[in-house]
């Protein structure tokens, strides 16, 4: 990593850590407890749960753009960003789908229902998991990369469906955000959610950047190994 980009990355990490510390303090000390029907104390999961979903959208969007660029003009860089986007979408999707059921247990009485938003979110997570699995086990050849890129473009189609599923098909899932944010009854609740979005944006940027660097390093390593083999350095390879 270049020294300038390394410095920017370190500043980004420090800012992310500072924002997260403040966010956790604010959620647990300052933000009020919601009504019992919304889960009472467990409603505080909301301030990480919703931003996790947003971070999954963000990572999915990065995967979509980079995959589309790769399909148009294949480069190691666009492939690395597409792979990084898919990996981070899996992480944030898992955070979303583990925190949600724990809140639902209190608010709905069950961990899981086949609600439209829950089902479409699970579908998206499985699509991104499929991309990660494909890249991990099928190798890094051009055909595999192209197939993963196509999946990255097609998988993103589901993201707007998740967002509008509650409006279109109803279900149990709350709509405090999609109804214009009017469901948050206290200014501290709105602030905590805003901070959550900001913190998750910083985290998503840092993680996608980091994973993209790893993927580019992987491509560079593969080229060096080919060169080493061509030079007769079989022991070192």
């Amino acid at each position: 990593m270049q020294s300038r980009s390394k410095l920017i990355f370190q500043v980004l990490l420090a800012a992310t850590a500072a924002v997260f510390f403040y966010l956790i303090y604010f959620i647990f000390i300052r933000a009020p407890i919601a009504q019992l029907q919304a889960g009472g104390l467990t409603q505080k999961i909301f301030y990480f749960h919703v931003p996790s979903g947003y971070a999954m959208y963000l990572s999915g969007a990065v995967c979509f753009v980079a995959s589309a660029i790769y399909l148009a003009r294949p480069t190691d860089k666009s492939d690395a960003w597409a792979k990084a986007g898919a990996e981070c979408a899996v992480l944030f999707g898992m955070m979303l789908l583990t925190s949600g059921p724990l809140w639902a247990k209190k608010a709905w009485g069950v961990y899981w229902t086949w609600d439209p938003r829950l089902t479409t979110s699970l579908l998206s997570l499985l699509v991104y998991a499929a991309i990660v699995m494909l890249r991990a086990f099928a190798g890094g050849g051009h055909a595999e990369r192209k197939f993963a890129a196509a999946l990255g473009v097609l998988g993103t189609v589901n993201l707007p469906i998740i967002h509008y599923s509650v409006k279109k098909w109803g279900g149990n899932h709350p709509t405090v955000i999609t109804s214009g944010g009017g469901g948050l009854g206290h200014p501290d609740m709105k602030f905590a959610l805003g901070m959550g979005f900001f913190a998750m944006t910083l985290l998503a940027v840092a993680l996608i950047w980091c994973r993209a660097r790893t993927a580019m390093l992987d491509s560079r390593l593969a080229r060096l190994q080919e060169q080493a083999l061509a030079s007769g350095l079989t022991n070192e390879v």
């Binding site: 955070m95 583990t98 190994q225 030079s231 070192e236 390879v237």
Partner: protein, 125 residues
């Protein structure tokens, strides 16, 4: 927020309805007046129409609205945050370890390749 599924009217607890006669559930057996399994709102629940017989308790369970919620909010909240942070930290740990390994490997290979280029070509006799 809605709850999952509509409640069966036959099983719905009606607070206005008077409790079951004391003779059906002995006070000594239920001192806290807690609804028993198999008794929804004090109505006869078993197929036989008898209340709280050992046969009813061992052969069926009936949902009671407003039954004690044993899931602790604190435990769920802490579990959710622990799981999310654990996932994140594991992801960061694997990323960091993989980058370290790859950085070392790239450095080694580059050094080896430079050494090959710098070395004089073997003379042909």
């Amino acid at each position: 927020m809605q709850t999952q599924g509509a409640a069966d009217p036959a099983r719905t607890f009606d607070p206005a309805e008077p409790p079951a006669p004391a003779a059906s559930v002995p006070a000594a057996a239920n001192p806290g007046n807690i609804p028993e399994m198999g008794i929804a709102g004090g109505k006869p629940s078993g197929p036989s129409g008898k209340l709280g017989t050992p046969e009813d308790r061992s052969t069926q369970f009936i949902a009671v609205q407003g039954g004690g919620d044993t899931t602790s909010s604190e435990a769920l909240l802490v579990s959710a945050y622990l799981v999310m942070w654990a996932l994140l930290l594991v992801f960061v740990w694997f990323t960091w370890r993989r980058q370290q390994k790859m950085d070392d490997r790239v450095t080694d290979l580059e050094r080896a390749l430079e050494g090959t280029r710098a070395a004089p070509a073997p003379r042909e006799s």
